[in-house]
Amino acid sequence: MFYIYCPHCGEHREEEEFHAKGQAHLARPLDPDNCTDHEWGEYLYMRKNPRGLHHEIWIHATGCRKFFNMTRDTVSYEIKEVYKIGERPSVVAAS
């Protein structure tokens, strides 16, 4: 059971109030019609499954109904950072 800081409400809330919506920072191709099937498939289906830092998108569903990003360690379940949509993460995996 996570304890999640909502950057819009400005405080921690119980996980029950949130929905996880998967990997963050997946840009919808600006011109889908000119994507190859392969490119479209990458966008549509290919997801990271990292051991360690993962950038995810969540929604404060039973709350302010706002989406936000979370950087989470998939091993320890630590939440390293939350940041608003449109912002970039400051905690990233060493590449």
């Binding site: 819009h8 919506k21 963050a24 920072h25 997946l26 840009a27 709350g63 302010c64 990003n69 949509i85």
Partner: protein
């Protein structure tokens, strides 16, 4: 989903013409029977026949006007219009509320507020707000879809602790604070209105479930119904 795209702020446009939204006074004459979500629980009779003393008191504030107001805090025309009509600023600080007499405003989200006022005044307020506010705004009448319950008494907090995972301790939930959170298997907008008073805004279709829940959760303290 791409969240790298920076939201592009657009300049507020001139006041929208009335025809761009469908305004509707949804109230019938007073001769028509209106039923609040808990109408069938017949709280008036329960109040008359039930216990008069107990640790928890429950009252439905029914058939009030509920308006959802949407707008950007970057839109000066929106905020100014709201101030002009309400007589006070929209509470822009998260999780706060403001009230004046019978009208109260709850922060719901950075671009969303819930106004509750006497039911018969809702349509007029909506009109005045629409007139006064400019730019991209929305007002939605949700009066039929919600009701207000007031939970009070020395054990009200204990009932809340059974019902919501939110921290209702004085240090975290002072009088005046408002949160939207999980309530039993439903949700509620909870506002602390007094030392022992808590207001719950709940959805109509969940009202029967929550009425059952509250009776059950209050049983050990004694539940008093106030009409």
């Amino acid at each position: 989903m791409s969240d790298i795209i920076a939201p592009t702020k657009q300049a507020a446009v001139e006041a929208a013409s009335v025809e761009t939204v469908a305004l509707m006074d949804q109230l019938a004459g007073t001769d028509i029977r209106a039923e609040s979500p808990l109408y069938h629980a017949d709280l008036a009779t329960v109040a008359k026949q039930g216990p008069k003393a107990g640790g928890v008191t429950l009252q439905e504030h029914k058939l009030l006007g509920h308006l959802v107001i949407r707008g950007s805090q970057d839109n000066a025309g929106f905020l100014a219009g709201a101030r002009a009509v309400l007589g006070f600023d929209l509470p822009t600080q998260p999780l706060t509320a403001a009230e004046d007499g019978t009208l109260s405003v709850r922060w719901i989200a950075p671009d969303e507020w819930l106004v509750i006022l006497p039911g018969r005044e809702a349509f007029e307020l909506e009109n005045r707000l629409r007139e006064a506010m400019s730019g991209h705004v929305a007002i939605v009448n949700v009066s039929g879809g919600q009701t207000v319950l007031e939970l009070s008494g020395p054990n009200a907090r204990a009932v809340l602790k059974k019902s919501t995972p939110y921290d209702v301790h004085d240090r975290n939930f002072p009088v005046g604070k408002v949160v939207t959170t999980v309530f039993a298997k439903s949700q509620a907008v909870i506002r602390r209105t007094g030392e022992q008073n808590w207001e719950l805004v709940i959805r109509r279709s969940f009202a029967d479930y929550l009425w059952l829940w509250l009776q059950d959760a209050s049983a050990e303290f004694g539940l008093v119904i106030k009409d």
